[in-house]
Amino acid sequence: MAATRKTSGGTRPGLIFGDLWEFDPAPETADPKLKSRYDLFIDGRFVRPRSGRTFDSINPANERKLAEIALAGPADVDAAYRAAGRAFRGWAATPGRERGKYLFRIARLLQDRAREFAVAETLDGGKPIRESRDFDVPMAAAHFFYHAGWADKLEYVAPGRIAGPLGVVGQVIPWNFPLLMLAWKLAPALAMGNCVVLKPAETTSITALKLAEILQDAGLPPGVVNFVTGAGETGAAVMGHPGAAKVAFTGSTEVGKAIMRQLAGTDRKMTMELGGKAANIVFDDAPIDQAVEGIVNGIFFNQGHVCCAGSRLLVHEPVAEQVISRLRNRVRVLRVGDPLDKNTDLGAINSREQLGRIRRLVASGVREGAQMYQPPCRLPERGYYFPPTLFTRVTQSHRIAREEIFGPVLSILTFRTVDEAIEKANNTPYGLSAGVWTDKGSRILRMATELKAGVVWANTFNKFDPSSPFGGYKESGFGREGGRQGLLDYAHLA
């Protein structure tokens, strides 16, 4: 049901939906089957941390404690590496056909328990259930399934060379897509015959430890995969351990650089998937309604906790007013609130710390003279929430146009010519992703060529697939995840 009314500033009638009736709550009720305490997963077993310490995992939607998580100290990380080192010879010698079967099993067991994992992911991280249910969990299973099929075809990965495992791989992943990032890291490493020591982010450890249950059920040999939980210190121990033949990190550019410095002087191989400040570029001949949906998906997907989020909107001047006005109308009907509600568009911000960072950067945007728009919306009283936010009159020197906010905040800039759009889009130390909206094929291909970004979405945004390489240029990191290209980053070539 829709009605029209005059928008406050312009003459264009605006559509309104959400403020006529309240939606009834529609919570997802599947049991996430959480334990009250999660131990480390080392050598195929759940073990108490030698550090003797634990920390709490909080539900960011209501600030309630979900579970107690073991804190891995250096001795625990060392035990994990030793277990992985012991397992390596056997795992690497396991025929690819058989290694692949374990990965197929993991994919299937994850599909079996998909809803349970989706609820756990939403409780632990705050993302809308619609996303964890329809994106994170099925995509994680798809990554295991895809890479399973590679395990017995490694001789086709690098023509003219023999591809084999590197050894034990240390991996540290972020909190924005906990299970999915874990799948991106584990699946190619295992398919190639490596063993793994992985640390999930401290605010989102639960689905990794639930996946450990699946690894047990799948009969994966002990030590092939080990999970150590904890915060930055644990991460530094995982990245710096001499037992690692390679480290793979997904997270902020700042931490990525610190790891690169930490590992200077070693011959450790590295893959870095770091931050971004993607331009989403809308030309005057673009299908505007689709573009507006793409812009919304680009910046508000997962509360904007996405390294490839389209956080800088570049709009062609002739359509700027039209795009911005439709965007405001669209943002007004986004539903912010309980992540477990099936109608929620924006869930909870992952942590108090992240909420603080978003608030500080938004305040800097206001202070530096950009114009802020936030739709009227009631945020829950408890929990970490931030309304969808649009900034117009943004200039390239504003912090909100340069720094990664990692929240539901869109900075809008305009341009007049194709060259100006390219120049502005590339004017950033990052280079992870970019979006282009236009009906003109030759322009799409030119933009796709000129944009310095590892992924270019044309007339779409935020699309991912296990077969499609993902990763950045410049300070967004190096190495790829997905496809043959990503698999090769876990290979030793002889």
């Binding site: 798809a142 690098a158 023509p159 003219g160 060379r161 550019t253 990525g256 650089k257 610190a258 690169m260 410095r261 590992l263 200077a264 002087g265 011959d267 870095m272 770091l274 130390p429 799409i444 796709a448 060529t449 970004a453 590892g454 992924v455 270019v456 979405w457 044309a458 007339n459 779409t460 699309k463 697939d465 077969s467 499609s468 390489p469 993902f470 990763g471 240029y473 410049k474 300070e475 967004s476 990191g477 190096f478 790829r480 496809g483 043959r484 290209q485 090769l488 070539l493």
Partner: protein
Amino acid sequence: MNRIPVTKTPKVYIGGAFVRSESARTFKVNDATGAFFGNIPQCTRKDLRNAVEAAAKAGPGWARRSPYNRAQILYRLAEMLEARSGELVTSLVRFGAREADAARGMSVGVDRLIHYAGWADKYEQLLGSVNPVASAHFSFTVTEPMGVVGIISPDNPPLLSLLSMLAPVIACGNTVVALASEKVPYPAILLGEMLATSDLPGGVVNILTGFRRELVPTFATHAHLRAVYAAANGEERKAIRLGAAASVKRVRFTDIIGKEWFADSAQGLEAIRDFVEVKTTWHPIGS
């Protein structure tokens, strides 16, 4: 009276021109018998920055050349080297190489250029892909050159190693600032003269001479060098990695030493793969 030979003033090749160091500094090089050979430019950080600027200017044009065209230019370079290999062999021998090694090194060097000339229009089909995604999108992956790449050459063999490192990097559309062997810099200066007559546009390859300890730190930290490809010792490797972290620069070290540069295993697709970025483009299918 015997005729007095005319000696050549050694100059470095930057931006398609032969120049001295901006600092006007030189270092004396003697040949293998200990006799005076010449004064070689002792390039500075400022020379390196000028060379990076020249390479950056040449970059977009070189990257836009068709792979077929880049292949022909690399082949032309091989033609230039083959024709003047006597001169190169003489220079290598003068600085201590055995005649047979120098001659073999030159033939391997020319063949290596041809090897990479052939790669220029082939690597894309091996490194890129069309991705069978599950949604209704056309998703394809292509490579792009990284930009300006710094190359730090080993001393032995001074010319073949430099050629082997340069060729894959420019074959895929990058431009280069290279540091020649500190001990035997003259063959690299000769190579510059051949590059200048090879149809390779000025600025695509720039070759500096000078001291590693003065220049390696700037190779590591210069933010416009998007990658460094180096033969380096442990301490230098650490310095390069530390400097590279500041701008998330790509680093490739070569472990090939001495005679190993002569082998076919010292060439191949991996050296190209390490100096291209991988870009994936998506577009919906339908309507």
